[in-house]
């Protein structure tokens, strides 16, 4: 009898545009790695414009944690290094070669290696950067010693890619990746599975891990939530977490000795004509995908899901950690008495709009803020969508007043932006929750180092 952790709090947002299970190949010459994808990493460049790189060649490293090296997903020529405000490096653009060339790192079977060898191989191949850590929700520090490692086998975010499909045919690589992770912790590797969403044998028959069962609405699939309910992070402790598609890439680095960033990406959203999956490389340009495949022109392109993803333009690039593109209409229009209408078609968790009468309706949601920013007024809203024993508003207020002790006491080590994303969605006061939380996490990290 397996124990299933049933989470009641949370919210599944039903949106139009989930990807059908068709997979097509997609190739393009335009690639970019965005250092801003790597939370907690201060990039120091290792390449210059005009340099040629192979798939697996390091592009930059972290100024404060030099072992962390981010590698190129593709072989080609560095065509541009784009900088934004205050010279922040935004994109390292690479024009891909016709024929891919890989850096060769040598193969290995992690089950037969010791911790140092596994770690060294992952750092060398750049696959270590796929691991994130709590506290602070940043790219993990290789020198830290995690008490456990979590892999969540399902994603509950709106229109999220089917993780079963992402690991289809990759059973060996996935298992090898898990074996490698098993060497990195003295504790356990946990695989969070949803019996109703996961059918794949790759997950159900994974070896060397403890399989946890979770059911519930979003954010039940977030590793942060699963960690909180299984092995919560206390002060001074570290837990690592990652997604299945990244475990596969880690596995390949051991089996084939190369950095092979091939992955499936779900092209989703109400404005996509035929939402489907494409097989491609991380970091590819979406231009070819969306040129003919979307309706209209006043659109928002998001790398990732609509809750936590990054805004890109139609020539933008898929993020290093993303397996999803969402395309939704922009909401930059005025709505006459929009707040006063009965609102049959409006999405809201409150029942003040009549749309609560049709709970299973799928929405075509746009990006309008739907109101002005206000001070906190309503209470109990965040708690309904956050399945954690944490007082979210009190924590956010502690961040606002920069009270380090209070932040620590209220559980800042256990949270990440993705876990709080729904709080931001439902907030009546339109509080920028994720940005605020990141401010707190960064402040905490600075204070503790």
């Amino acid at each position: 009898m397996t124990r299933i952790t049933k989470l009641k709090k949370g919210l599944d947002i039903h949106m139009v545009g989930e990807a059908s299970k068709t997979v097509r190949d997609y190739t393009t010459g335009q690639f970019a790695v965005k250092p801003t994808d790597f939370s907690g990493v201060y990039p120091k460049l290792l390449v210059r414009e005009g340099d040629t790189v192979k798939a697996g060649s390091p592009l930059f490293f972290d100024k404060y944690r030099e072992q962390i090296r981010v590698v190129s997903p593709v072989s080609g020529t560095v065509t541009a290094i784009k900088r934004g405000k205050q010279r922040v490096i935004e994109e390292i653009c690479i024009h891909a070669d016709e024929r891919p060339a890989y850096e060769s790192f040598g193969t290995g079977q992690p089950s037969g290696m010791d911790r140092d060898a596994v770690l060294a191989h992952m750092l060398k191949t750049g696959t270590f950067t796929f691991i994130h850590q709590l506290p602070y929700a940043i790219v993990a520090s290789p020198e830290s010693n995690p008490k456990s490692i979590f892999v969540s086998a399902f994603d509950t975010a709106p229109m999220a890619p089917d993780q079963d499909l992402l690991v289809e045919g990759e059973g060996e690589a996935f298992q090898t990746g898990l074996d490698a992770l098993g060497k990195l912790t003295t504790g356990k590797v946990y695989l969070g599975v949803s019996p109703s969403r996961n059918r794949s044998k790759v997950f159900h028959e994974a070896r060397g891990v403890e399989v946890l069962h979770f059911e519930g609405p979003h954010p039940a699939g977030n590793p942060g939530i699963q960690i909180h309910h299984t092995d919560p992070v206390n002060k001074g402790e570290v837990v690592w977490y990652l997604r299945p598609a990244d475990v596969v890439i880690i596995g390949r680095a051991f089996l084939q000795g190369v950095f092979d960033a091939t992955t499936l990406v779900a092209l989703t959203g109400s404005e996509v004509r035929e939402p489907h999956y494409v097989r491609t490389l991380r970091g590819c340009s979406i231009e070819g995908l969306v040129k003919a495949g979307v309706e209209g022109d006043n659109l928002r392109y998001i790398s990732g899901n609509v809750l936590t993803g990054t805004r890109i333009d139609r020539r933008g690039y898929i993020g290093y950690f993303h397996n999803q593109i969402s395309v939704i209409p922009e909401g930059n229009h005025y709505e006459f008495f929009g707040w006063a209408l009965p609102g049959l078609g409006k999405f809201s968790v409150s029942r003040s709009y009549l749309s609560w009468l049709t709970p299973n309706k799928k929405y075509r949601l746009h990006t309008n803020l739907n109101g002005g920013h206000r001070a906190f007024v309503m209470t109990g809203e965040y708690e309904r969508v956050l399945p954690m024993d944490i007082y979210p508003v009190h924590l956010l207020k502690a961040i606002m007043v920069e009270d380090i002790d209070l932040m620590e006491n209220l559980g800042i080590y256990e949270v990440s932006e993705e876990d709080f994303a729904l709080c931001e969605v439902v907030c009546t006061s339109k509080t920028p929750v994720q940005a605020l939380l990141r401010q707190g996490l960064d402040l905490m990290r600075k204070e503790m180092s």
Binding site: I13, P158, P232, N234, K235, V306, L307, T308, G309, R311, S326, E330, G331, N332, H333, Y334, E335, F336, F337, G338, W339, A340, G343, K346, F347, S348, V349, S350, R351, S352, Y353, H366, T367, N368, L369, N370, G371, G372, H373, R374, A375, V377, M378, T379, G380, D389, Y391, H394, N409, L410, A421, L422, V425, C427, T428, S429, K430, V433, Q434, A435
Partner: protein
Amino acid sequence: MKALRRYIDKIKPQFEKGGRFEKLQSTFDAFETFLFVPNKTTTSGAHIRDAMDMKRTMSVVVIALVPALLFGMWNVGYQHFLSQGEATGFWPTFLFGLVRVLPIVVVSYVTGLAIEFIFAQIRGHEVNEGFLVSGMLIPLVVSPEIPLWMVALATAFAVIIGKEVFGGTGMNIMNPALVARAFLFFAYPQDISGDKVWIADKADAFSGATPLAQAAAGNMDQMPSVLDMFLGLIPGSIGETSTLLILLGGAILLVTGVGSWRIMLSGFAGGYLMGLIFNLWGANTYMEIPAYQHLIMGGFAFGVVFMATDPVSGAQTNRGKLIYGFLIGITAILIRVLNPAYPEGIMLAILFMNIMAPLIDHYVVESNIKRRLRRVKVKAA
């Protein structure tokens, strides 16, 4: 709509910085966003947002107050003609009340909103919608005989001292509408307490005592029937008399999720329990009235449904809300029965618990912190 939108876009620059009417920027913005949900899109974090905003939230509360307001208008007329011994039809009755009550509503809104607009402009904020509710609550908790200048003064006091000095909507410690009422109660007691003020233009011979006053005096034989008290055919503050329509408003708040069921439920439970305790004690006739009657007399129901549930001044944690509501119920009946100086206790009970709410929350949050620390200790052991 398009023409209106074009017109607004045309005159907008004059209200922006450097424009001719830049001092009216907040005011313009308030009207513009009232007419049109702005075209602002998400820039950070989640790309999609709930359709709920502060305007919607506050309008729901105002809608929930409308039944009590309309009944209050009718009842003002009804009580007047009853005291005069005249029998009139529905419309003259309602019209009499409308003429009495509408000016109070208008004065409350005009005074309060004017102050809100000025503060928003000084602070460079958008105008907050909180006063839409306070402005409606204030007329409903005063007597129909109240002079209009007092309404204006009390409203100004409530908005400035009760709210804006703390930073505006969302920052206030006490419920602004109750601050207004408390101000009147202590500054002008003869106009908001006693037997003379609850019926508009009362005939002198007629006793205008509210059920609370009768009960406090021990005149149990002169109490109105339970049905009258429940329906609201009794003298009292404008909006507080009809428990039925207050409950209807409460139902709107609960269905939409705007009001907290925890506070309402525990508030009524606390009041009922205190009534029962007095029944057991039974030292005088007031203590002996059935506990449920406490819930339909005076402003108890109105206070619990519309005032205690104010999310800003109430407890913020779910467990805290239960404690907060329960203590409001207990305290209100306690003051009502035991303190002869205050015929009604709900106002002071809620104001007192407003002050105590952060303390309640503090202990609830503290228990969460302790749980987290215990986790570490269990591990270390």
